[in-house]
Amino acid sequence: MANLKELSSVPEVLASGHRMCAGCGAPIVVRQVLRGAKAPVVVANATGCLEVSTTIYPYTSWNSPFIHTAFECAAASLSGVEAAYNSLKRQGKITEEIKFVAFGGDGGTYDIGLQSLSGAVERGHNMVYVCYDNGAYMNTGIQRSSATPKGAETTTTPVGKTQPGKTERRKDLTKIMIAHDIPYVAQVAPSHWNDLYKKSEKAFSVEGPAFINALAPCPRGWRYDAEDTIEMCRLAVDTCFWPLYEAEYGKITVTYKPRNKKPVTEFLKAQGRFRHLFSPDNEHILEEIQAEVDRQWEELLALERLGLESQEQQE
């Protein structure tokens, strides 16, 4: 268990003065994750908010080597960097220990970058991929992605006379990544910084690929006040909308179980993007969302039990 004082003494890789919006969850995720690296890192970044706001030529906010290529291929580009590292190390041209980490938003990870991420982790590159999930294409102006929660209003799922925001459920990317049977997968939220730090440490310490899905609230897209970002995370976790858990080679451990699971409306009503759901006509949507959160939470607990039972049987 780390304490805040220790963590705050770790040198920053992402310097202050970048151009991310006030209250953006993404740089908080980046800074918390990189505290777990324990070695110099090479950072890859998919096109998106983080990339355009931290490397505006001739400036960079990164105190580490950084590479951005395009939107859908942060994992593929970083896999090339890691392959070069392996080759040059084998030839004795490089001796130092270096860690590799990619950051992509949900658009660059759940959607356009899913194939290259899947390919890279299947190939077993020794790297950590971090998705900062703010639930829409925020960089282009809040368009829906497959990570956008059901019911959310975005500019491509507007609340109209016949459509109540996004009608589809969000994709469960964390589970998809667990299905790759890789050394380490975790879901985190920056409100639970110690949980995040421990998971980041684990992700960087395993041999082979690790994936972290980090909730990264967006004040503009979610429509809440910039100072409430961490509160949004807390509500997401306490309502079990965004459970905190990890999977080591597929074996699931839920790392935080709220003592009092709050109704999902607590999370939804705090954000302008769900405001329309609270009109009487849309009550059934709130019920559907709650039922979905409940089902997924129970399923997660069941998967955890299943993992424990199979471990006991093996012992």
Partner: protein, 396 residues
């Protein structure tokens, strides 16, 4: 002094794979696609047998092949990939990024028609569309040329005055799968010729961190692209210098293009890659009958050697430029359009017409080449071309 060379019978793909083995890149990221697949297969065997120190990245798509190659090259590795057709099309976005980052990536391309209709055979619709991507384009008539061009490409790409990626093209199936006699240089001669790659920056240099791929808007983008264009212009001299050095180790001469029996040629065909071989046979036949015909085979299309081409073609009376790809401009193929434009300032302009030929692997034999020379003859008698663009050998 040319070195002792091994005379072997092999396909164009095998020759290229052997060239890659001798170059021994640090990273190869590749994805299979007909007719390039052999290159990846041969190379995977070399890696599996420990003949190279290459880290193989067997990616899940060509987009990722180019992305990983870019990552490896930015990390200071000598990095290569290879592709064809749809694979090159899928890489499109990343081609511009490789050149924009000034990464000296070398990529064999085995030319194949683009869908649709889906077709696995040769034409040049894949690389003709990639002429605006900032890559140096080198074309090869035979397996021998594909091999020779590949080895030279490393030196061209990595030259400090250039630092641009290079694609080395050959005709799908025709030379990639046809077996011919190839002279391979000794491994150590190639090793010495390409030398050790010494990148000036690397994202693996954690002591001196750099940011590769930052955002450049109105204030810097223009300068970056202008510098890229200047590097492309400088490449012409480097290509010729490297060719001269290569001649010393191989005895084989290369330039910006090849002129075949052009000295007093009145009727000339301009054509790329394997069809140049077919044309040479026809030129020989017609020359035996005393006809003044010749061939000009472009080797380098980027940078485009406009002045040199004008110089070489200006004493001809009638020129047929043959394009193995459509542009749908309705005013001719890419090669034709560029060569014709190069003559804009010239006072000596031969008659010039265009043939679109060999699409989707349609055989172009000596019969079709004879017809083209006959058409030029008729044009000369008429004093003008009777048709600007002709689709050769099309069923009515």
């Amino acid at each position: 002094m040319a070195s002792e060379q091994k005379r072997v019978a092999m396909t164009g793909n095998e020759a290229v794979a052997n060239g890659m083995r001798q170059i021994n890149p640090d990273v190869v990221a590749a994805y299979p696609i007909t007719p390039q697949t052999d290159i990846v297969q041969f190379y995977s065997s070399f890696a599996a047998d420990g003949l190279v120190h290459t880290e193989m990245v067997t990616v899940e798509s060509e987009h990722s092949a180019m992305s990983a190659t870019i990552g490896a090259s930015a990390a200071g590795a000598r990095a290569m990939t290879a592709t064809s057709s749809q694979g090159l099309a899928l890489m499109w976005e990343m081609l511009h990024i490789a050149s924009g980052y000034r990464l000296p990536i070398v990529m064999p391309v085995v030319n194949r028609a683009l869908s649709s209709p889906i077709n696995i055979h040769c034409d040049h619709s894949d690389t003709m569309g990639a002429l605006t991507t900032g890559w140096i384009h080198i074309y090869s008539e035979s397996a021998q040329e594909a091999y020779d061009n590949l080895i030279q490409a490393i030196r061209i790409a990595e030259h400090p005055d250039v630092l641009l990626p290079v694609m080395v093209c050959q005709d799908g199936f025709i030379t990639s799968h046809g077996i011919e006699i190839v002279f391979l240089l000794p491994d150590e001669v190639v090793k010495e010729f390409v030398g050790e790659y010494k990148p000036h920056t690397s994202v693996l240099d954690v002591e001196n961190p750099i940011a590769v791929g930052p955002l450049q808007l109105q204030d810097y983008y223009t300068e970056t692209k202008a510098q890229e264009a200047e590097a492309m212009a400088r490449a012409k001299k480097v290509i010729l210098e490297v060719a001269e050095e290569y001649e010393k180790i191989s005895g084989r001469k290369y330039g910006l293009f090849e002129e075949y029996k052009m000295d007093d040629a009145e009727r000339v065909i301009v054509v790329l890659n394997s069809t140049a071989g077919t044309t040479k046979a026809v030129v020989d036949e017609l020359r035996a009958k005393g006809e003044k015909v010749g061939l000009l085979k472009p080797r380098v299309l980027r940078p485009f050697p406009a002045d040199e081409l004008v110089e070489a073609l200006s004493s001809a009376k009638a020129v047929a430029v043959m394009d193995r790809a459509e542009t749908f401009s309705t005013r001719g193929g890419q090669l034709f359009t560029e060569i014709r434009a190069a003559f804009y300032e010239s006072h000596k302009r031969p008659l010039m017409r265009n043939y679109i030929f060999g699409l989707g692997g349609r055989d172009t034999t000596t019969r079709e080449i004879h017809r083209v020379f006959k058409d030029l003859d008729a044009d000369l008698e008429r004093g003008q071309v009777d048709k600007l663009v002709t689709h050769l050998d099309v069923r009515e």
